[in-house]
Subunit: 240 residues, 2 copies
Amino acid sequence: MSGNHRNGQYAYRRIQAVIRKRIESGKLRPGDIVESERELAKIHKVSLMTARHALADLAREGIVERKHGAGTFVAPPKIHFNKLMSYTEQMASRGLSARSKIVHLSSSETDPEIAARLSLPSASALAVVQRVRQADDEPFALETCYLPAHQFPGIASPSLERGSIFGVLEREYGVNLTYADEEIDATDADQRTSELLSIPRGTPLLRMRQLIYSSKGIPTIYVVGLYRSGRHTLLIRRFR
Amino acid sequence: MSGNHRNGQYAYRRIQAVIRKRIESGKLRPGDIVESERELAKIHKVSLMTARHALADLAREGIVERKHGAGTFVAPPKIHFNKLMSYTEQMASRGLSARSKIVHLSSSETDPEIAARLSLPSASALAVVQRVRQADDEPFALETCYLPAHQFPGIASPSLERGSIFGVLEREYGVNLTYADEEIDATDADQRTSELLSIPRGTPLLRMRQLIYSSKGIPTIYVVGLYRSGRHTLLIRRFR
DNA sequence: AAGTGGTCTAGACCACGGC
DNA sequence: CCGTGGTCTAGACCACTTC
């Protein structure tokens, strides 16, 4: 037979979706036990291996924890450490909406140092998007994104006021971002930055310079972020 | 039958061990193709599902990459970013020697906020070790470590001038540190810090507050580090 | 078309945990 | 003891890549 993919999707995905929904809706809380492999197999009319696949895969994602001889339990919600997330995604994960104001747009700047970081010839045209990030109508960060202009024609557009660059890149240009190397240090606000963030000149700022890579390890975006101290702390988990 | 666990171990582990050895010995190099599921099944006289399990599990570990329709390939070796390292270890990994000067030692301070971070009663005695970190005889960081005084008697000793706290904890107290959560932001130098680091008051500093956990997830050390901007940048890799 | 990984079946026995 | 997850079989068909 095998033709059990009735509505399209795979059986193990359907089973996962059911469990996920029960967790998201609060019907299942952390520590609660999930149906056993055998129960799931009966309920969804699949073989044991398929039910097992569904649970093992959820465990790999950290959604549930499996205890040999005991059962499968809802895992405590994970804190997303060290995840490469756009500002929009970070805000969404805290239940806040992302607001930003574009303060500079260009698609033909040049900057030899930044071009070098993106592995481009030094005279390459760069698309630049500079935005002030806001929380509660209060500006707390100035973010400047640099991309190869020729590779992303039309990216420097006012539509980014609401959307996320990550999203646009992934949806409209088919680019998947996979990881970023970051340099972090402290600096202080220059004239323009202090005006844009409504802070005194010389206020200490956290500076984060990210080189974001697409799949296959191609450097794709360079982002310089300046964050008001106090308003923003970076969280990192490191392992020994 | 099922009785194929001849020598004890599981079949899929044996298959993995064979592949691992070929990679470690250099017979298989990154990018090289590994035997297909069907080949492995024949070679090791197991079912397809078992061969599959062996490969899927190696892929989950990042040892190999699987490409649908193409094959299974040896993955490039992983770079160890975001490693929890002591200052001493960081310097050593760059071929430099760690130098530091102890500017404050105590084994009976109290600080309710820090005690709380270490999951201790708020009046608990804290051992405090404050050191100025130097590179080329130039001070570039002020680091303050807080530990539960009762748990580490005698830790606040001048012998730390040359040694690393990590090392002492692991060797003399049998504590294994496993991971740390960090908060990073920017601040500026107060009076005492500016004197200790020989910088003007108000100079922007990178502030890193680490809560370091031992195995079993017990918070063990709280470290506040203040780093001169320019002299020190933090490198992080994050993944999507 | 041939070969690959991905999903799936309908069972089996083993190893572990809690009662 | 019973129920749990963990390993395993001997196949099948589907989805994808490469030639």
